[in-house]
Amino acid sequence: MSEFLASAAAKMGVPEALVRRSAEARAKATGSSTDEVLAAWAGGEAAPAAAPPPAPEPTSAPEPAAETTPEPEPVPAPAAGPTAGTAAAATPETIESVVAAPRPATPPILVGREERLAGTMLGAAALLSVSLLVGFVVASTPEETNLAYTSEYAYSEAALRGQELYRSEGCTACHTQVVRPVVADALLGGVSMSDTNQVIGTRRFAPDLAHIGSRVGTDADLYLVLGGTDGHPPLTGLDQSDLDAVVTYLMESA
C-alpha cells in the first residue's frame, strides 16, 4: 500500500495523509479496497466505479494542498451524478437527460488543519462581550459632573407621552437632540455635557431640537411645521391630542 500511496501522492502533488484518507473514502463509497483505489490513482487508471479525481492545481502559495482534498471525505462522499434526490425535484424528461450523462461530482468537502472550534466560538463571544461591556455599558453609564449645566429636563407627563410619540413616529430619523461642543452647534444653546433624558438620535438631516422650545416664538410655529410646512412632512397619523403631546414635549425642551 505504501508504494502505491507514495506514488499516487507524488503524482497528484498532494500530501500522503490526505491521499490515504481520500482513498479510504473512495473505497468505502465504491465497495472496493483502498489498495485498489490507490493502485488506480498511482497508475493513472480509472478507479473502481468512479474516475480518479483531478489533482489540485499546483501553486506557489505557502499552504498549497493542505486545504483541499482531491477526493470525497470519509463520511459524506459524492455520488457519481444525481440520485433520487435529483429525481424528486426534476421532471421525467430531465431525469432521463441527467442520468444519461453522469460524470464524477466535484469533492464536496474542504478540509484544513486539525483544530478545535470551541476556542474560536468562545473567543468570538468573549471578545464581543468585552467590547459591548466597554463600548456600550461603560460608555453609556452616566458620570457625575460638577458642571453647572445639566442636560436633564423636568418633563411633564404630557411631555413624556409626547416623547414616546416622537420616538415611535420616527422623528429621530432626521432630528437630533444633542448640542455638541463644536462650531457647528455654536448657536444651538447649552452644550449637552452630561447624559440627557432627551432622544439624542443618530442622524441630523433637519434642525436639532435639543432646546427647540427656546428657539421658537410660540407653539403655533411648531403646529405649523408639524402640519406640513417648511419641507416637513405632515404628521397625518396623529390625532389632535397626540399632536398636542408632541408639541408639549418640544416646547418643554427649552
Binding site: A79, T83, L117, E143, G170, V182, P233
Partner: protein, 461 residues
C-alpha cells in the same frame, strides 16, 4: 448494492433560507428605495410611507429578513461540507428560515401601522426584538450541534468565520432587545448594533463564504491560511467600534474617541487580509468573469469590502468624525456594507452553489448582468450618499443646517440634497439589480436546465 446511503433532505434548509431571504430582498429593496425617496420628497411620502417610518421598516426587512436569513442559509450549506456530517436537525433549521422571515414581515407591518416604539436600533416593539433574538438562537444551536458531531477534524477557515458569526449575531440581537434609557444609552444601542451587524455578521460571514466559493469555483487550494486567520481576528477586534464614531461629541466619555479610532483601524486590515486571501486563492482564474458570475460577484464583494473598511476607518478619526458625524455619510457606508458586501457575497454563494443544491443549472447571462449592475448602481448610491453627508457636514460646520427655520439650513444644504437626489436615481438601478438577483434565483429554481446535483451520502451505521 451501495455501501452508502444518501443524506435525505440535504440542502433543504439552505435552499429554504435562500428562498425566504430572496423574498425579503424584494420587500427590503422596495422599502429602501421608498426610504431614499422619502428624504427627497418629504411632503409627498407621508404617514406610513414617511421617511421616519419607512427607514426602520427597510432596515428590518434588509437586516433581519434578508441578510440574516441568507447568510444563515449559506452557513447551513457549507457546514455539512466542512464537518463531514449531516446538518443537525434539518427540520428545525428550515423552520428557522420561516421564523426569522416571518418575524421580519411582522416587524415591517408593526412599524408601518405605528406600533413601533422607537426603542432599539430597528425601532421595533420589545416583543418583536425578543422574538428576533430567540429565533437567532436556532442557527447557533444547529451550528454547535453539527460541529459537535463532526467527523472531519481538519478545519477549513470558513468554519472559523461561520462559528464566529453565528455566535455574534444572537448577542447583538440580545443587545438590541434590551430596554435602554432614553439618551446616550438609546443612541449607542442603535449605532453599536448597526456597526456590529455590518462587521461581525455581514462581513464576517460573507468573507467566510467567500473563501469557500473561491476554492469551489476554481478548484484551487486555499492560498494562505494565515491571511484568513488575520482577516478573522481583525474583524473580531473591529467589531462594534465603528458605531460610536457615528455620534461624535455626544456626551460620551473622553477616552472613547481614541479607542474607537484605534480599534476601527482593524477594519481595513481585515478587508485587506481577506481580500488578498480570497484573490490569491482565485489566482489566475479571475479571467473570464463574464462567464463566471460567482467569481464576478466575489470580486465585487472584495472591492466593496475594501471601500467600506477604508471609509469607516477614516471617518472614526476625530477631525473627520466631526465633519461627517450624524450625516448621511454613515448611511452611505451602511448601504455599501449591506447591499454591496452582503449582497455580493450572497450572490457569489448562490451562483456557485444553486446548481449543486438544486440540480438545476444557473440562468447565467442575467447573473453576470446583475453583478455588473450592482457594482455600478449600489456602488454609486453608496458613494453619492457619502458625498451628500460630507457636504452636509461642511454646511453644519459653517453654522448652517443645525438651527431652526428654513433660511438657516434648507437653503444652504441644497448641494447635499442634490447628491441625495442623485442617490435616489442610482438607487432605482440598484433596485433593478436586486430584482434581477431574485429573478435569477426564481428562474433557476423553476426552469433551470437539469444538471448534476451534489449528493451527500453517508455510510450505514
Amino acid at each position: 448494492m451501495s455501501a452508502t446511503t444518501q443524506v435525505e433532505g440535504q440542502d433543504r434548509a439552505a435552499v429554504t433560507h435562500l428562498l425566504v431571504s430572496s423574498l425579503h430582498l424584494g420587500l427590503g429593496s422596495i422599502l429602501t428605495l421608498l426610504m431614499l425617496a422619502g428624504r427627497v420628497f418629504p411632503e409627498v411620502l407621508t404617514g406610513a410611507l414617511g421617511f421616519g417610518r419607512v427607514q426602520p421598516m427597510a432596515l428590518t426587512s434588509v437586516m433581519v429578513g434578508w441578510l440574516a436569513v441568507a447568510l444563515v442559509g449559506a452557513a447551513y450549506h457549507v457546514l455539512p461540507r466542512l464537518t463531514g456530517t449531516r446538518l443537525w436537525n434539518e427540520n428545525l433549521a428550515a423552520v428557522g428560515a420561516w421564523g426569522l422571515g416571518g418575524v421580519g414581515v411582522a416587524g415591517v407591518i408593526a412599524l408601518g401601522i405605528g406600533l413601533g416604539d422607537g426603542g432599539g436600533p430597528l425601532g421595533l416593539p420589545w416583543w418583536l426584538d425578543s422574538a428576533i433574538a430567540v429565533t437567532l438562537l436556532i442557527p447557533l444551536l444547529v451550528t454547535i450541534q453539527t460541529i459537535r458531531r463532526r467527523t472531519e477534524t481538519g478545519v477549513f477557515p470558513t468554519l472559523w468565520f461561520v462559528a464566529s458569526g453565528v455566535v455574534s449575531l444572537p448577542i447583538l440581537a440580545i443587545l438590541a432587545a434590551l430596554p435602554a434609557r432614553v439618551g446616550l444609552q438609546l443612541a449607542l444601542q442603535d449605532v453599536v448594533f448597526t456597526a456590529g451587524f455590518s462587521t461581525l455578521w455581514v462581513t464576517t460571514m460573507g468573507a467566510g463564504v467567500g473563501y469557500y466559493v473561491a476554492v469551489r469555483a476554481t478548484g484551487n487550494p486555499l492560498a494562505n491560511r494565515q491571511l484568513a486567520r488575520a482577516g478573522l481576528l481583525s474583524l473580531l477586534f473591529a467589531g462594534i467600534w465603528a458605531g460610536p464614531a457615528q455620534i461624535p461629541f455626544a456626551p460620551v466619555p473622553d477616552w472613547l474617541g481614541p479607542v474607537v479610532a484605534a480599534l476601527t483601524l482593524a477594519l481595513p486590515v481585515a478587508a485587506l487580509a481577506n481580500g488578498l486571501g480570497i484573490a490569491q486563492t482565485v489566482g489566475t482564474s479571475w479571467s473570464g468573469l463574464r462567464e463566471r458570475p460567482a467569481l464576478g460577484a466575489l470580486g465585487a464583494a472584495i472591492a466593496f469590502m475594501a471601500v467600506v473598511g477604508l471609509a469607516t476607518s477614516v471617518a472614526t478619526f476625530e477631525s473627520a468624525s466631526a465633519l461627517v458625524g450624524f450625516t448621511a455619510y454613515w448611511d452611505g457606508v451602511l448601504y455599501l456594507a449591506l447591499f454591496g458586501v452582503g449582497g455580493m457575497f450572497i450572490a457569489a454563494w448562490a451562483y456557485q452553489t444553486l446548481p449543486a443544491m438544486t440540480g438545476r443549472s444557473l440562468v447565467d447571462t442575467a447573473a453576470s448582468r446583475q453583478v455588473r449592475w450592482t457594482m455600478w448602481f449600489v456602488g454609486g448610491t453608496g458613494l453619492l450618499l457619502m458625498i451628500s453627508g460630507i457636504i452636509a457636514g461642511l454646511g453644519m460646520t459653517g453654522g448652517a443646517f443645525s438651527a431652526f427655520g428654513p433660511d438657516s439650513w434648507s437653503s444652504i444644504v441644497g448641494p447635499a440634497a442634490i447628491f441625495y437626489g442623485l442617490a435616489v436615481l442610482t438607487g432605482i438601478g440598484a433596485f433593478a439589480a436586486q430584482a434581477l438577483f431574485i429573478l435569477n434565483v426564481y428562474r433557476t429554481l423553476t426552469s433551470g436546465r437539469a444538471t448534476e446535483q451534489e449528493v451527500l451520502v453517508e455510510a450505514p451505521v
